[in-house]
């Protein structure tokens, strides 16, 4: 790995560890190898959002050309968000693409992602299904996102109604995550989800 990338990551790693956000348990970062090319990030779901109380794990890959190119970041924790793929965890965020600037750091990236959880950009979506729901049935979106946070990110808000519907589909032999995706995509209407699953 290029010297400059390693030097940067070493320093940024320390910067995150020392930052006040860590003290508030809002962001965290962990090294996965000693060549500084792969890291694990964590961000706390921001308060007053459906993600509140959840912890979201990120995969961070540092390219050889860092910081002249942005790090490659992806959500490992499944999340229901217009700008994040519910399938792959891919993120649609300008600073991770053409708005990257070399002086940005792991800390600014993690804080920007946290801000993205607070303020989605439904007009620049990564996940079309989620974005549609966000715009057309925001109440249902809030329920779904909170439910996913509970199941995948350790959020505190159990939604009995959602869990029941998933169990009904599971009883029919549908795998749990598949059932959740189908229900989430059809505003938790059991009939339409079933129809889609068996078509």
């Amino acid at each position: 790995m290029a010297n400059i990338a390693a030097q940067r990551i070493k320093r940024e790693f320390k910067e995150v560890i020392k930052s006040e956000e860590v003290a508030k348990c809002a962001i965290r970062v962990e090294l996965l190898n000693d060549t500084f090319t792969e890291l694990k990030g964590e961000i706390a779901g921001p308060p007053d959002t459906p993600y509140e109380g959840g912890t979201f794990v990120l995969e961070i890959k540092v390219p050889e050309t860092y910081p002249f190119n942005p790090p490659k970041v992806r959500f490992v924790t499944k999340i229901w968000h217009p700008n994040i793929s519910s399938v792959t965890g891919a993120i649609c965020l300008d600073i991770l693409k053409d708005q990257w600037a070399a002086a940005m750091t792991l800390r600014t990236v993690l804080l920007s992602l946290q801000a993205l959880l607070s303020a989605a950009e439904p007009d620049d979506p990564q996940d079309a299904v989620v974005a549609k729901q966000y715009k057309e049935n925001n109440e249902m979106f809030q329920i779904t996102a909170r439910h996913w946070t509970n199941v995948y990110a350790g959020g505190p808000n159990i939604n009995k109604d959602c869990d029941d519907k998933i169990r009904r589909l599971a009883d029919m032999g549908i795998e749990e995550h598949q059932a959740r995706v189908a229900l989430s995509s059809y505003d938790w209407e059991l009939e339409r989800a079933t129809e889609q699953l068996f078509s």
């Binding site: 400059i4 940067r8 320093r11 910081p67 002086a103």
Partner: protein, 315 residues
């Protein structure tokens, strides 16, 4: 790329850190309006990707980058840094502005060129010395030189071929001209006039010679002496059509009646001073051209002239 922070003694001010490489600024430049400073190599690399300030994304082109203020440069030059070769045992700590000078002579530099002490005479980077094998190195040296020699040989053969080709063509051309000259009288007149002019022109390029001791004249020069003079005449541009005749006329057997024997020479000694002689540079010899010596009597001159070689006495 800047200097690694942990090489410095004491704390380094945040302002002296490059936001791109996060090292201490090396050769810094700053953006014009926001005044953000970066290492020259870092900002050049970034701007080659997009013309913005890496901190605030304002538009910046490389032409707009400028020197950082003197105060910043002074702060940088006063920082104390460990030598690059600290991992190899150098314990020196230097002011940043004297680091470069030290590096050029730091004896801990693993790449410092050292002469091999086993006698092969090669200069080798210090860290390669322990794996150095004189025989192996010299063998590869011989190998590359052999290759070069082979290449030269090929070149030489090629040049020889070209020269022979040209000689043949020249020969043909000469024969052609001779044929024209013989078959066409007006052509002959023109060619003769051209040749005469050429001899005159050449004569004008030569320096007058003074013969101090006519007694030093060698009337029967040997082959070696003749070849040497011939070579010099060619080098100083003697027209080829008179070269053979001139060189034939360096021996008493071809000299005019007034010079051709010891006896006649002794009789005509007084006339020697009247000869117009030209220098043959670096040689004890003179050229006496017929065109320069029309005032001499017929028994003292031959066409196209003669060469006199001396044992000494030419200025």
């Amino acid at each position: 790329m800047g200097f690694e922070l942990n090489r410095f003694q004491g704390d380094v001010d945040e302002e002296l850190i490059c936001p791109i490489c996060s090292g201490v600024l090396e050769d810094p430049l700053q953006a014009p309006t926001c005044e953000h400073a970066f290492c020259k190599s870092c900002i050049t690399e970034w701007i080659s990707r997009q013309p913005t300030c890496p901190v605030d994304r304002q538009n910046v082109t490389s032409a707009q980058l400028r020197q950082v203020p003197r105060i910043l440069r002074n702060l940088l030059s006063r920082l104390c840094i460990h030598c690059d070769n600290a991992p190899y045992g150098c314990t020196r700590v230097l002011k940043l502005d004297s680091l470069q000078n030290h590096l050029e002579e730091c004896e801990f530099n693993p790449k410092r060129p050292l002469p091999c002490e086993q006698g092969c005479g090669l200069i080798i980077p210090k860290d390669e010395l322990k794996d150095h094998n004189c025989v192996k190195e010299l063998r590869s040296l011989i190998h590359t030189q052999q290759q070069k020699i082979d290449d030269f040989h090929k070149d030489l053969a090629e040049q020889r071929f070209v020269i022979n080709e040209q000689k043949r063509e020249m020969q043909l051309l000469k024969e052609f001209i001779r044929a024209i000259r013989i078959s066409n009288p007006s052509m002959r007149a023109i060619a003769d006039a051209m040749e005469r002019d050429e001899v005159l022109r050449w004569s004008n390029t030569l320096q007058r010679a003074r013969v101090n001791r006519w007694g030093g004249m060698i009337s029967t020069p040997d082959e070696v002496l003749q070849r040497m003079i011939r070579r010099t005449l060619t080098e100083i541009g003697c027209p080829p059509h008179i070269l053979d005749d001139l060189m034939e006329n360096c021996h008493e057997r071809r000299w005019p009646p007034g010079l051709c024997s010891l006896e006649t020479r002794q009789n005509n000694r007084r006339q020697y001073e009247n000869y117009v002689c030209k220098r043959v540079p670096g040689k004890q010899a003179v050229v006496v051209l017929a065109c320069d010596n029309t005032h001499m009597g017929e028994d003292m001159m031959v066409e196209p002239g003669l060469v006199m070689i001396f044992a000494h006495g030419i200025e």
